[in-house]
Each structure stands twice: as structure tokens, then as C-alpha cells.
């Protein structure tokens, strides 16, 4: 299906499987013993590490389940703490449903939107800087660092604590967050008699997304990569990229300006 709708990239792609299966006899070694040997040694090493680890460190087991006693904080398993951390900045429907779905779908479409034929099968940064920088930013800076924050720096009330600080469940944090339509320069616009408050957020988000459209028409004629991508692939990349960058942007707005929501509507908030 993906092959069918691709224009210029298709010819280039079709030549690649042949290149991949081209016998390079001189460069090949027997799997027995060279690979099987490494696998065997690797299995033993990992097996020993796992066994020693299991003998020395016990899996946690707390009090019996009690639905009437909610622990504070209630943390998800560590690998989902990045998602739980996003709940600080977005509502559950966005941080808990839309963003995780976009992460999975976004990962799946990577091979179809990255049409750069270079860097196939070897380490390189120079030949694909955008792809690697974006992936590293998403994986290391967003996913891994949010997990680390969730595991080590969140205490009761989901407040920030240093790992060596004692958790004070009665710590009072002033809730000073305001919605963007009620903030500073937007305040006079937020008067529902002039505009609906929801229009401001809508306009801002449309402006944010339209940067991609402007960039497309601005660079289309001069930039070879954008021309080759075509509008569909470019659009998918732009939506995924801007959504991803929306997270650090919202973190910044929250931490620096105490902005709660950018777009407030009766049905949902972003």
C-alpha cells in the first residue's frame, strides 16, 4: 500500500532489496562457529548476571491490596512514568490516550516517512542529522528524562522532591496556574463578550500548526528534501514533529509562565 502512493522515491526503493541480498561472498563468515559461539557466551553471561541479581535483590511485595487506602504518591510502573509525568502538563485524554497512541503510530511510520536512502545499516550522524537528532531528543530528552523525573523526583501530591529530601505529605504548593486566555496580554481578549475564550486557544494552535504549512511553501522550491517528501509525507512528519515539540513547549509555558491550558473549550482543554 505504501509503495503504491509513492512517486519519486519508489524507483530508488525498489533497487535496494536487490542490493541487500547481493552475495558478498568474500565478506561472509560461517555462522557455526563464529556467531553461535558469541550467542552462547552472551547467553551464559546474561544468565549469570540475571541469576546473581535474582539471588541478591528481592522483588518488591508490599501490603495486601486495599482499595480503600490510596498511597500518596500512587505511581504507575516505572516504564509508564514518562506518561504519568506528562499528566502534569496535559489532561488525561491528551497525555494518557492521544500522545501514547501518537508515539506508537509515529514510531511505526518512521520507515515510510524517512526516505533518506543514506545511513542504511551503519552508524552515521552526518548523513541523517535531522532523523537522529529528532529521535535522540524524543527518546533521551523526553521519554527517558521524564521517566527519571517520575521515578526519582516525584513525591506526595506529585510534587517535586530531591531524592535525598524527606517526603512531606503536607507540603503546600500555591496553585497559581492560569489559562492562557486569562493571562497577561490575552486577558483583555478573554472577555467572552468580545471573543469566546476558546477562540484564542484555537487561533494560537492553528498558528502553531500553520508554521509547518508556511515552511512548506517557503522551502518547497528551493529545498530538495521537501520536494522529494511530497505534501503527504511532509504533512505527517510536520504533525508528529509539532505534536512532539508541543510537550517541551507546554513544560516551558507551565514552569516559566504558570500557564495551565492554552486552549480552553467546554468539551476539552489543551
Amino acid at each position: 500500500m505504501a509503495e503504491a502512493k509513492e512517486g519519486p522515491g519508489a524507483a530508488k526503493r525498489m533497487t535496494q532489496p536487490a542490493a541487500a541480498t547481493k552475495p558478498a561472498v568474500a565478506d561472509r563468515v560461517h555462522v557455526w562457529p563464529y556467531l553461535v559461539r558469541s550467542e552462547f557466551i552472551c547467553t551464559i553471561i546474561v544468565g549469570v548476571i540475571l541469576t546473581v541479581w535474582s539471588i541478591t535483590i528481592d522483588a518488591p511485595l508490599e501490603e495486601p491490596a486495599n482499595p480503600t487506602q490510596t498511597p500518596n504518591p500512587s505511581k504507575a510502573p516505572w516504564y509508564f512514568l514518562g506518561l504519568q509525568e506528562m499528566l502534569v502538563y496535559f489532561d488525561p485524554w491528551f497525555a494518557g490516550v492521544v500522545l501514547p497512541s501518537l508515539i506508537i503510530v509515529g514510531l511505526m511510520v518512521i520507515p515510510y516517512i524517512d526516505i533518506n536512502p543514506k545511513g542504511n545499516g551503519y552508524y552515521t550522524f552526518k548523513e541523517r542529522p535531522f532523523a537522529i537528532a529528532t529521535f535522540l531528543f524524543g527518546f533521551i530528552f523526553l521519554w527517558v528524562s521524564l521517566i527519571i523525573t517520575g521515578v526519582f523526583f516525584r513525591g506526595p501530591g506529585w510534587n517535586l522532591f530531591w531524592p535525598w529530601e524527606t517526603w512531606d505529605p503536607h507540603m503546600v504548593i500555591a496553585l497559581v496556574n492560569v489559562d492562557l486566555p486569562a493571562w497577561g496580554p490575552f486577558k483583555w481578549l478573554g472577555n467572552p463578550k468580545i471573543f469566546g475564550a476558546e477562540v484564542i486557544g484555537l487561533v494560537l494552535i492553528v498558528l502553531y500548526l500553520s508554521t509547518a504549512v508556511i515552511f512548506y511553501y517557503w522551502k518547497r522550491d528551493t529545498n530538495e528534501t521537501i520536494r522529494q517528501l511530497g505534501p503527504v509525507r511532509y504533512g505527517i512528519i510536520a504533525v508528529l514533529f509539532l505534536t512532539m515539540m508541543g510537550l517541551p513547549l507546554k513544560i516551558l509555558l507551565r514552569l516559566a509562565f504558570n500557564i495551565k491550558y492554552v486552549w480552553v473549550t467546554p468539551w476539552f482543554n489543551i
Binding site: 535496494q16 563468515v29 535474582s54 528481592d58 511485595l61 509508564f80 488525561p92 490516550v97 520507515p111
Partner: protein
């Protein structure tokens, strides 16, 4: 050395040895290939492989370690299933039984848990390595997609298993995790447009997942069945596809 050779000769020519091994093993190219091709477990591999592909620096061995972690959890998981009952009244008591009474019960449980956590980490590192080497590029696009699904299943396997000890840690972690389902647009009772669709806390995405409005006994049974039957079978099927596609897509990736 000469004595050793003599001894080996004697052993190899003895009736007992001959009755077990009909012929000797000669280290010829043909035999090296046959070792792989004629072995049902090893024939996942090609008989020959590109030289750079066996370098640990290139593959980090992460896919293999992930599979090893999966096998460890399967073996320890089956043993745990002998002693564990997914019923709210018994589950926690069975954990204590495993911990204090069952011979090697605690080690088996530890191995299951640490291998599961290890698998989450190795699967991420595997994805990271595959991205860094650009190994998702044509002709391997679809195998990357299968890999992303396997990554999701790994997380789901770990998450469904998290509930089974039935202690405070597990039910509240799962409560936090599944509360998201309540906010699903259109399908969750607290999500956008819930009133338009008319979903209620009793009939929405979260209630479907939990078998009720709370993480309770029906949830335990659901997660147990998903954890021990549905997800492992699904993961195994996709792993078959994943490994097969490595061969079909031209073997392990490398510079063209």
C-alpha cells in the same frame, strides 16, 4: 599431549562411543553449514553471515538478549503458575507462600520480575540501536513496524503482570495506569465528548478493561489471562514473523 591424543583415540573407537555417535565430526565448510541447516533450532540463522554483523559493537546483541529475557520469563512464569491462583482471596497469600514455603520460590519470582524489567530495557535499547544504524530503512520497513508492535506488547505484558502480586504496589499502579482509559475521547466516561456518546463509568473503555468500575477481582482474572495466554501467544507469533523477516529482508543490516 601424545598421551591425551592416544586416550581420545581409545575413547572415540570404543564400542560405547561408536554406538552413540556413528561417525566423527570433521571441521569442514560443508559440516559447518550442515550444523546450522540440519538443526531445527539453529536454522533460524543463515549458514553464512556478513563479517561485520557478528561484531558486538554493531548489534549490541540486544535483539538476542531480549529474546533470551523472554525465554527466561516464559520458563520462570510457567513455574510460578503452578503455585499462583488469580483469585483475589488467594493471590496475595500465594505470593507469601512462594516467598517463604516453595523451594526456590523467591528466586524464581525474582528472576521472573527482573527478566521482565530487563526485557523492557533491552527492547528499548534494541530499538535505539536499530534506529541508530538506520536498519529500518528499505527493505526492512515492515519488520520495524512488527518490532514496534512487539515493543508495545512487551510493555503490556509487563503491565498486566504488575497487577498479579495483588499488593498495594500493584493495584495502585494499575489503577493509575488504567485511569487513562477513562479519559479516552468518545469512549471514556470522563473523556471529551463523553456526554455526546452517552458513556457512563459503568459502560466505558475503562470498565471494559477492568471488568468493573474498580481494579477488583474481575480485573485480576482478566489481567492474568491476558498475561499468561493472550499476550505471550501474540508476542510469540509476531516474534516468528520478526525473526523470519530478518532473513527474508536480506539478513542483518550492513553498509551497502
Amino acid at each position: 599431549m601424545a598421551r591425551l591424543k592416544e586416550l581420545k583415540q581409545k575413547v572415540v573407537e570404543s564400542q560405547l562411543w561408536r554406538s552413540m555417535f556413528r561417525h566423527d565430526y570433521l571441521d569442514t565448510p560443508r559440516n559447518r553449514v550442515l550444523q546450522i541447516m540440519a538443526n531445527v533450532w539453529l536454522h533460524l540463522h543463515p549458514p553464512k553471515i556478513r563479517r561485520h554483523a557478528i561484531k558486538i559493537r554493531f548489534t549490541w546483541c540486544m535483539g538476542g538478549i531480549t529474546f533470551l529475557m523472554f525465554l527466561s520469563t516464559v520458563i520462570t512464569g510457567v513455574i510460578l503458575m503452578f503455585y499462583y491462583r488469580p483469585v483475589a482471596e488467594y493471590a496475595f497469600a500465594d505470593m507469601k507462600y512462594l516467598e517463604f514455603d516453595v523451594p526456590f520460590g523467591m528466586i524464581v519470582r525474582n528472576m521472573h520480575r527482573w527478566a521482565a524489567h530487563g526485557m523492557v530495557i533491552t527492547v528499548w535499547l534494541h530499538m535505539f540501536r536499530v534506529f541508530m544504524t538506520g536498519s529500518y530503512k528499505p527493505p526492512r520497513e515492515f519488520n520495524w513496524v512488527v518490532g514496534v508492535i512487539l515493543l508495545t506488547i512487551t510493555l503490556l505484558l509487563s503491565f498486566t503482570g504488575y497487577l498479579l502480586p495483588w499488593d498495594q504496589l500493584s493495584i495502585w499502579a494499575v489503577t493509575v495506569g488504567t485511569n487513562m482509559a477513562r479519559a479516552t475521547p468518545l469512549l471514556g466516561s470522563e473523556g471529551p465528548f463523553a456526554q455526546v456518546v452517552g458513556v457512563t463509568p459503568r459502560y466505558d473503555a475503562r470498565a471494559f478493561l477492568l471488568g468493573g468500575t474498580l481494579v477488583g477481582p474481575p480485573t485480576l482474572l482478566r489481567f492474568y489471562v491476558l498475561h499468561c495466554i493472550f499476550l505471550p501467544i501474540l508476542a510469540s507469533l509476531l516474534m516468528i514473523v520478526h525473526f523470519w523477516r530478518i532473513r527474508k529482508d536480506g539478513g542483518i543490516s550492513g553498509p551497502m
